[in-house]
């Protein structure tokens, strides 16, 4: 990628983060996990996935699924910035008259499957990937998993089966932000050595810096797909990335900021002084 292309993606990621911050008020959202996967989604939609607003119903389109679900503000931000939905629609966040809320709804253009309950979309994505293979399509299915989500047994059950069925047009991306809802993953249910776990299940496993566009590009363009095994990309990320005032803080998972705080966070995103956040902390959902 040229420097210009990298900057273009980074600018887009900034716009998406602004959308996420705007969705973290007046009801709030799961801001931490949304910010950690923002760069990954921006990269995938702009550089990797064969999907555009005009091909959203094409049978051979690539598919992205958010299995952890509560990072959907990042996806909605990307969909708004890439023309799948209007930017204005994001103002309907949490309105009962629209379908934009804390987890994905497939009535929203660009959303392939709904989620919310953890541990579902790896198997759903496997079904989609097999369907494409049966039809002889080049479709690739990317499933974004949370690292906390890897506590769910259904993920490991599906991982065994994906390998057994040689689903090699399937890419799982673990948003490895090292946090689950309230604690660091390694303090509650340790996951490491994570790549080795997937490899032991028969997957290709690789690491990437999930906030660096060049690293993401090198990783995804270098994947060995269609070689008989599913692939997992473990993306090293930071929860709350882009907002130092909430980054990597265990009690900044779900946040509902007031209007002043939201403005301060928007300023912080754009390089101004860190915001001072005094509103509610640790809203456990």
């Amino acid at each position: 990628m040229t420097r210009f292309e990298v900057e273009e993606l980074e600018t887009l990621a900034l716009r998406v983060r602004e959308h996420i911050v705007r969705m973290s008020t007046n009801g709030g959202c799961f801001i931490g996990a949304s910010l950690s996967c923002t760069d990954i989604l921006v990269y995938l939609y702009k550089r990797f996935l064969n999907i555009r607003p005009e091909t959203v119903n094409s049978e051979d389109r690539d598919i992205l699924l958010l299995s952890k679900g509560h990072d959907v503000p990042a996806l909605y931000g990307v969909l708004a910035e890439t023309g799948f939905i209007s930017r204005e629609r994001l103002q309907h966040h949490l309105s009962v008259d629209d379908d934009i809320y804390w987890h994905p709804n497939r009535k929203v253009s660009g959303v392939e499957f709904h989620s919310g309950s953890l541990g579902h979309l790896l198997s759903v994505g496997m079904g989609m990937a097999l369907d494409a293979r049966m039809k002889g399509l080049a479709t690739r299915v990317v499933v974004i998993l949370g690292d906390g989500e890897l506590n769910e047994g259904s993920i490991w059950e599906a991982s065994l089966v994906a390998s057994a069925l040689s689903i090699d047009n399937l890419i799982a991306v673990v948003d490895r932000n090292h946090f689950q809802a309230n604690l660091r993953t390694e303090e509650l249910v340790p996951l490491e050595p994570l790549a080795d776990k997937f490899r032991a299940f028969g997957w290709n496993a690789t690491h990437v810096n999930g906030h660096d566009m060049r690293s993401l590009d090198e990783c995804f363009t270098g994947l060995h797909l269609n070689t008989g095994s599913p692939t997992v990309v473990i993306a090293d990320t930071r929860r709350g990335k882009g907002l130092p005032s909430i980054e990597e803080q265990a009690d900044r998972w779900f946040c509902n900021f007031n209007v002043e705080e939201t403005q301060a966070l928007l300023d912080e995103l754009n390089g101004h002084a860190s915001a001072t956040i005094t509103s509610e902390r640790l809203v456990v959902r």
Binding site: R106, F113, G127, S154, E157
Partner: protein, 322 residues
């Protein structure tokens, strides 16, 4: 090749959308894997993954038959059925093997006797409980084209040789006694026990009781008119099911009568708790679900009604089996 296999292969040959997926329950599908090729998927003993995959394929335009043991299909994978099939209204036909008393000697872990209750509780999900293999196949043909999810209690018992009307969801059929005339007793039933109910009705007819037998076919959508008609034209309505008394046909009848403001004495014959495992004939006898027990219980209750005592006996709950 059994009739189920033949149905799947016939359907697959005319409808390229069909995919069959199983959690390693191949016993009744032996000939299907080589014939269907990559449209037959065996995920191993992984019901949740099976259902997630079925949902993923179905929203991509597939019609999926998901075939597994009824207990694990409906309960291990329940949340996957709810989220990934029912919520997206995907055309996945869940075929549950050895439902109800058919788990015979397996023991309580394998007893799917709350399956109707939990499946009918899901929006978009239909429930079909055939009474023999012929009806299973005839019904499946309709369900495969329905575009909606269904739960089906698999049954491969021989043809009951009853004059069956074509299968239609939400339409019950009357197997003994005229449907509109007065009857002393109307038995409402479904599935495997339909045969026992016919035999019970025939035995009661020898006692000069006029007994009608109605097979519900689908528990959802349910034929409310068949229930209301039974209530209007009978002195006693009996529900017979190899299912917990909670949530199945007994509950459906109660809900229907309440909704329409009707009242009639009802005898609920079913399973108050898990049944004693064993050989099927002995299971039916021990659980008081064979034709003799059904006839006996109806005779007993009908005599109570004739003597104007409308108090139902309280259901017995046995001690735990495990």
């Amino acid at each position: 090749m059994n009739a189920y296999e033949k149905l799947l292969l016939d359907t697959a040959s005319r409808d390229e959308r069909l995919v069959v997926i199983t959690a390693e329950n191949r016993g009744h599908l032996r000939t299907v894997p080589p014939m269907l090729g990559d449209r037959f998927i065996d995920v191993g003993i992984a019901e949740q993954t099976m259902i997630g995959m079925a949902g993923g394929m179905a929203v991509r335009g597939r019609v999926v038959v998901a075939h597994a043991l009824a207990a694990f299909l409906t309960m291990r994978a329940f949340e996957f059925i709810r989220d990934d099939v029912a919520m997206v209204n995907a055309p996945v036909i869940l075929v549950g093997m050895v439902p109800g008393v058919l788990s015979d000697g397996n023991g309580p872990t394998h007893q799917a006797i709350e399956d109707v209750s939990i499946m009918r509780g899901l929006p978009n999900m239909g429930v079909f409980c055939p009474c023999d293999e012929r009806e299973f196949v005839d019904g499946m043909r309709v369900l495969l084209d329905s575009g909606h999810p269904w739960y089906v209690r698999y049954l491969n018992t021989p043809d009951l040789q009853i004059d069956q009307k074509p299968f239609e969801p939400g339409k019950a059929i009357t197997l003994r006694g005229a449907s509109l005339h007065h009857a002393n007793v109307t038995i409402l039933t479904y599935g495997f026990l339909t045969h026992q109910c016919i035999e019970a009705a025939d035995a009661l007819r020898d006692d000069d009781m006029h007994v009608r037998v109605v097979h519900m076919r689908t528990l959802k959508p349910v034929d409310s008119e068949a229930i209301l008609s039974a209530a209007r034209s009978s002195e006693l309505v009996v529900t017979v099911e190899d299912h917990f008394l909670t949530g199945g046909l007994s509950s459906i009848v109660a809900e229907t009568l309440m909704q329409y403001g009707q009242s009639v004495p009802v005898l609920s014959i079913g399973l108050p708790t898990w049944f004693a495992p064993g050989r099927l004939t002995e299971v039916l006898e021990a659980a008081r679900l064979n034709s003799d027990a059904i006839a006996y219980r109806i005779r007993e209750r009908f005599a109570d009604i004739v003597h104007h005592s409308h108090m139902p006996p309280s259901p017995l709950t046995k001690a735990s089996h495990v």
